[in-house]
Symmetry: C2
Subunit: 430 residues, 2 copies
């Protein structure tokens, strides 16, 4: 009576999903909306930075040769022939022992080759003419920021697929991007299943629980960078379910359901996949939690059947859905960032399958430490709030001791990994 499901390894399961990763599409957004998006084209410098020789300080621009004889005993006097603020150009020629008052950021006047900081000068007036004097000589090039010294025109500064942080925003503004090419956010539809589910506004009833998965997974979708559309709870009527799932697939890039993938009599997802002729890529993964995670594909479109258990649902999303979203951003490192850490507490549970323990990762003297963040059952919800990592424990052990090196997957990292899975090569198709 019970369907026998054949579990596959986590890396193999991820690989099967990644074969359906779809290409990133480009759109343009105004500069003020670009922060937090992913850039879809390289930023190549279309000008030198600085674009002209300029002064990094407030002071006087001079010809360095005129300062050669200056000393404390014999200060050299310069006639102040003009002044130049940032944003303006001094057009006259500067001659023998002439100086131009110059502000930070202003272009160096023709003929000048050094800037003396204001603090090193004395200014005075003689017959309504301003002079300044200096008590030491200055070498050619003193306090000049040369054209192109920071970036040469033609240099690639940012490659496509990078996250737009505040520093990238500064580059976009510098190079005059009013509209920024970014990767389109994919839309993920969410449908909850389960007769036991109450929405947050409903009062508790015997035997029922509140629908925490939908709200959790919507936040995970947002954290991964995608748009979310929530379609509520699936009906208890199978025919209606089939109709709704079919319709929803027209409106979203990816469809995600929570619950209904187990072997219980009310687990409709297998029947729905069959009815809409979706290919089931796998329906059992050799991992805890989330072993019942099911993924199906129809016409190249992915349907993720995540567990109804909160921790299992959470893990399933991060392992299988996140990399699809990130790949659609042109991100070559779409998977959770994998790092080594020291296990900060004993984990004594026997471990027949690969286990993803919800954990809190932190530094101690620059060393990454990870400790389980609480109650470890697939149904747990409380341990997720403190989790910023998964400790990834290989199967086949009776537990792990504090101090041991473990692999962790970081949940809040912006960078990601290319392929964090052992023993499984990335598919040639992906």
């Amino acid at each position: 009576m019970v369907e026998k499901r054949k579990p596959i390894a986590v890396g193999e399961a991820v690989q099967r999903v990644m074969d359906y990763a779809f290409p990133a599409k480009k759109e343009f957004v105004p500069l003020t909306q670009a922060h937090g998006r992913v850039i879809a084209e390289a930023i190549i410098a279309d000008q030198d930075i600085p674009a002209f020789d300029r002064s990094p300080y407030d002071g006087y621009a001079i010809r360095s040769i005129d300062s050669q004889e200056a000393s404390s005993e014999h200060p050299v006097r310069f006639q102040v022939v003009g002044e130049i603020g940032a944003g303006f150009v001094y057009e006259e020629d500067v001659g023998y022992r002439q100086a131009v008052r110059i502000m930070t950021g202003a272009p160096i006047p023709k003929g000048c080759d050094a800037v003396v900081m204001l603090e090193l000068t004395q200014t005075f007036e003689v017959n309504h003419q301003t002079y300044m004097s200096i008590k030491r000589s200055f070498a050619a090039g003193t306090n000049i920021s040369y054209k192109g010294e920071e970036v040469r025109q033609g240099t690639t500064l940012i490659t496509a697929g990078q996250y737009i942080n505040p520093g990238v925003m500064a580059l976009l503004a510098t190079f005059g991007y009013q509209q920024v090419p970014v990767f389109r956010k994919v839309t993920v539809g969410v449908i909850a299943t389960g007769s036991e589910l109450l929405e947050p506004e409903e009062a508790l009833q015997p035997g029922k629980i509140r629908n925490s998965n939908a709200y959790m997974v919507m936040a995970q979708i947002e954290r991964a960078g995608a748009e979310v559309q929530y379609f509520g709870k699936l009906s208890d009527d199978l025919d209606l379910c089939i109709e709704i799932v079919g319709e929803t697939l027209q409106k979203v890039d990816i469809l995600l359901t929570t619950g209904g993938v187990s072997v219980g009599d009310y687990d409709y997802l297998p029947a729905i996949y069959q009815a809409i002729q979706a290919d089931v890529l796998f329906n059992k993964v050799a991992m805890r939690p989330g072993s019942v995670t099911t993924v199906a594909a129809r016409n190249g479109q992915l349907l993720f059947g995540l567990s109804g258990n909160p921790s299992a649902c959470y893990v399933g999303f991060e392992l299988f859905v996140r990399p699809i979203i990130r790949t659609a951003f042109g991100n070559p490192q779409p998977h959770l960032r994998r790092e080594q850490a020291i296990l900060g507490a004993d984990f004594t549970k026997p471990n027949p399958f690969t286990r993803f323990v919800r954990a809190s990762a932190y530094y101690e003297k620059g060393q990454l430490i990870a400790v389980p963040s609480g109650f470890d059952k697939s149904s747990a919800v409380s341990s997720l709030a403190a989790a910023n990592a998964f400790i990834m424990l290989p199967g086949g052990s009776r537990g792990y001791e504090k101090g041991r090196q473990v692999a962790v997957l970081l949940l809040e990292d912006l960078q990601g990994s290319e392929w964090p899975w052992d023993n499984i090569k990335k598919s040639s198709k992906s």
Copy 2:
């Protein structure tokens, strides 16, 4: 002629700013908008989790005592008297060698004290009555998730001031929050100054540069979690500037300007602060870049005068503005997260003042490494794009060698530090 400014230590400067930190205000947002906000009240469990004894698997609920005699040679047969899906309650009494088909998440029927997984049973029919048999005994408590085993009613799960991540969203849904108490986002006004500035849509002109600071700092404000309002570029007319700054202060919690704080003849900010009778907390900090960072206060409201140089502006924001924004979220760790790291490359620049080197921090076998991310001048813009950390080098050295331990401040961390500054105690007032 030149105003002499007295530099103060970074920690001392931060402390003077933090004395003006203002209290967090609370507002309510719908659950679907709570992700990424900061919670303003503790979440205390108003029910046990689980709320009732429930089955973690699909199977049969039995009285364990009835299974005592079961073995491979002598399977024990149970009469299947009903079934119970998740969300429903089985109301009948379960008697001697009776079993109830039970789905994952369903409440354990009265009288039963064990669940046998479906895979370990044989089901069959005799005279239209369903039976199942088992080949081993099960102890009381087998496969039962007990009421309250994960969380006891009354437990504080999340304290005020915590970031709402996907796991916290799950808790909010579980405990029925339709409206979530969060800290109000402070509004930061941004005004750019400098005759040399062009907006991104303007063509380049000799001696002028594009206004990158405003777009960069707006993204930094967003990253810190606040709202931004951009008021454009300040006029070159001092009287008009004074009027505009005065008006803008009515509309925002914090006012931030870029440029105009140096000692150049067109640096209007000192005159503006004087005209509106703001107290200057400091106008010179013993650090690079950003030494001209100026902060003033009027009627308890802070005015941040950041440098016009991109790197200096960036650093000034993260050190001085970010902790004010985060404190307004009730965050007890409002400053950049300080960690120890290994310097991944030589830094040979002599260092008379505390220096904040824009850096890329990453792990190598779980150890944090930090390398400077590029061109290191206060005017640099390109090194900011790759920066996710500052290397904090104390003054008074001629450079640092690769492999040395250094302090870093992490820019993308959600957690923060209580007080990352050496030798300076946090003010008693803050």
